[in-house]
């Protein structure tokens, strides 16, 4: 069951990563957020669950591998794209509007990677489930 728990934590993280990517893509043209600034692309930061020091020193046993967890989110350092649109309600005095500069191709690549990672976790979970089911048949085979 431990392997399945670990795979599930991986799926949880990838699920949330996809939500962040969807948020980035949905806000490609958001010129103003609650803070008054244009939207900034976010990245999900994830890392192993558990104590890093004990894991690296080799003291942790396999039982203590807790899978992966979300560490938080951080804004990418992307800047803004200034477009001359005097009619826009968010235009500044010179008639320029700041749009977020989101790496569209990068987001797409990350999305495919996220999808593949999710699938990989799903496969690992299926294999673990198969092993468990096979173990239940031990001694029953005629």
């Amino acid at each position: 069951m431990r392997a399945m728990e670990i795979s599930r934590s991986g799926m949880d993280v990838e699920w949330q990563r996809l939500q962040v990517i969807a948020q980035n893509l949905a806000n490609l043209n958001t010129t103003r957020t609650a803070s008054g600034e244009p939207f900034r692309a976010m990245r999900l930061v994830s890392g192993p669950r558990g104590d890093f020091a004990s894991m690296i020193s080799g003291k942790a046993s396999a039982q203590q591998f807790g899978g992966v967890q979300v560490m938080g989110m951080e804004a990418t350092g992307s800047g803004f794209r200034r477009v001359h649109e005097p009619g826009h309600p968010h235009a500044d005095a010179q008639g320029f509007v700041s749009y977020p500069e989101i790496d569209h191709a990068g987001e797409m690549t990350l999305m495919i990677k996220t999808s593949r990672t999710y699938e990989a976790n799903l496969t690992a979970m299926n294999i673990a489930q198969q092993m468990y089911s096979r173990a239940l048949e031990l001694g029953r085979g005629q």
Partner: protein, 107 residues
């Protein structure tokens, strides 16, 4: 170059540690089981199965009310509950089998 080697050395240098890290904990000693008693083990196992079924139930309810719950968590809970019940059924089958075996013993 040296930086990469330094990182690799942490993982590879402790070869024995890496193996011991993957070693599973030893199964429970027979003496400990003997203290608990067989019926206690059975009862605690059934309680665990019950807990897992209840969790699955709750997950399905939560998903029905609010579909922002990740779907894989629901299916995982369901699968976990199914496997626990299956394990319990296997244990029951084995028990009944051995009971019948004893009852049919010719004396």
């Amino acid at each position: 170059m040296t930086g990469i080697e330094a990182i690799g050395a942490i993982g590879l240098g402790a070869g024995d540690a890496a193996i011991s890290r993957l070693s599973l904990t030893a199964p429970v000693a027979p003496a400990q089981i003997g203290q608990a008693g067989f019926s206690d083990i059975l009862a605690s196992g059934i309680r665990q199965v019950e807990g897992k079924v209840a969790t699955a139930n709750e997950m399905v309810q939560r998903f029905a009310l609010d579909d922002s719950v990740p779907l894989h968590q629901v299916t995982f809970a369901l699968e976990e509950a199914r496997m626990s019940v299956e394990l319990a059924m296997q244990v029951r089958t084995r028990l009944v089998e051995s009971y019948r075996e004893l009852m049919n013993m010719q004396i």
